[in-house]
Subunit: 264 residues, 2 copies
Amino acid sequence: MNLKESAPEWFMELQDMITAGVESYESTKMVEKENKREGWHQRHRTIYGDTFEKAVIAYSCVSGEFKEEFAKEIPGTENNKEYWASGISVIFHPMNPHVPAMHMNTRYIITGKEWLGGGFDFTPCLPNDDYELWYHNKVKELCDNHDESYYEDFRKKCDEYFYLPHRNETRGIGGIFYEYFSPQEMSFEFHKDVGKGFFETAMKTFEMFHTKEYTDADKAAQQIKRGRYVEFNLLNDRGTRFGLKTGGDTEAILASLPPTADWR
Amino acid sequence: MNLKESAPEWFMELQDMITAGVESYESTKMVEKENKREGWHQRHRTIYGDTFEKAVIAYSCVSGEFKEEFAKEIPGTENNKEYWASGISVIFHPMNPHVPAMHMNTRYIITGKEWLGGGFDFTPCLPNDDYELWYHNKVKELCDNHDESYYEDFRKKCDEYFYLPHRNETRGIGGIFYEYFSPQEMSFEFHKDVGKGFFETAMKTFEMFHTKEYTDADKAAQQIKRGRYVEFNLLNDRGTRFGLKTGGDTEAILASLPPTADWR
């Protein structure tokens, strides 16, 4: 089986795995919206729950032709604007402010070139040095299993990307971010381990903190941090701005926004 | 007295007038932050009140030299990047969802050229055709007192500017918006009447609706509309993006954001 078949299968399997994890905490199922036609498959799952105040797990496998202005910014489109792309993206906005907001995305893209890209990053709302240390060790461990240069490189890229220049602060405590690795350079097994590693780390984090008592002030701090999340996504996130400019599905593109936010 | 002296005086007088209007509804005073040095005066007033869930009334009279990249987009900076600018901007995010969100700004800018620009626009969260009609009549009246072409021209510009392409909707029900009128072309008296007309219309609107009963669903609709307000300001508003890119004061630039917003 080639990667163009096995990659989407993996992304769907991972989507089911993470969905089961989310639903194990909730009394209702995630709501699925599916959009399927020739060369196009999107399966978005959303829940506004009691533990996951908002969770979105989105799988897609789509193909088509980039618009001219879009193509310019994508490698491998010089001679041909056709693309094929499959991936999964996950966003968790937890109810309990002791649980960080979490984001993960892994994708496999084919134009005239082909590459893997992805990563994940966590955004705590309350300071917790011990947790931060534990989290980065988890991330390092999953990277070191594949290549000892990955963790440092990808953590740096993550900090650079998830940065709010107008606030002079990072979105959260980072994680890893990588792009433009051909499947020859980077094993798809690493890509899978990023998904699995995210899932395990996320679930373990919920387990640790989702029942921890919190004050109104803690919730208020979460709301302010969510405001920063909105600012990053609308002002700085390349994918969001690009998607909206090129006429993508607004609801899907803005699915990562928190359920609520404050600027008080 | 020339306009460079009388304009800032008017903007300060208008700030005091509107401040008194806001405070007449609240049990506490607006909080003032003043920043004054040679060639630089900012006086921002903010309240998180019971009627005005958030109100900001910002006066400024500042001067300096535009940065290279900033200057390119400003008329009259070809030979000299110096500027002088004075103005007032107002944002009201009312507690009661029957009262529209309101925004007003009038400014006088001098570079190698000099011009007046400004306008105001209202954003109801709940449909109310009678109010919309009443509102636009008020706006038309104040325009017609000066020039019968103003209302149609400036209302159109307002609708074009306060538009969210990714939602295919306007921010609110519009109002007026104008820019680049020299004080020879446009009477400063019109500029003053925009400020006064806004103030009267805003106060009358609060009077009509601020005690009107509302449901949780009405408040939820307001929260969603506020989310759109955030989207416009961060994705589409030229001033916001420009200010942040050129290293302006983030808190001041983002002062127009609503106190809270939802994307549920």
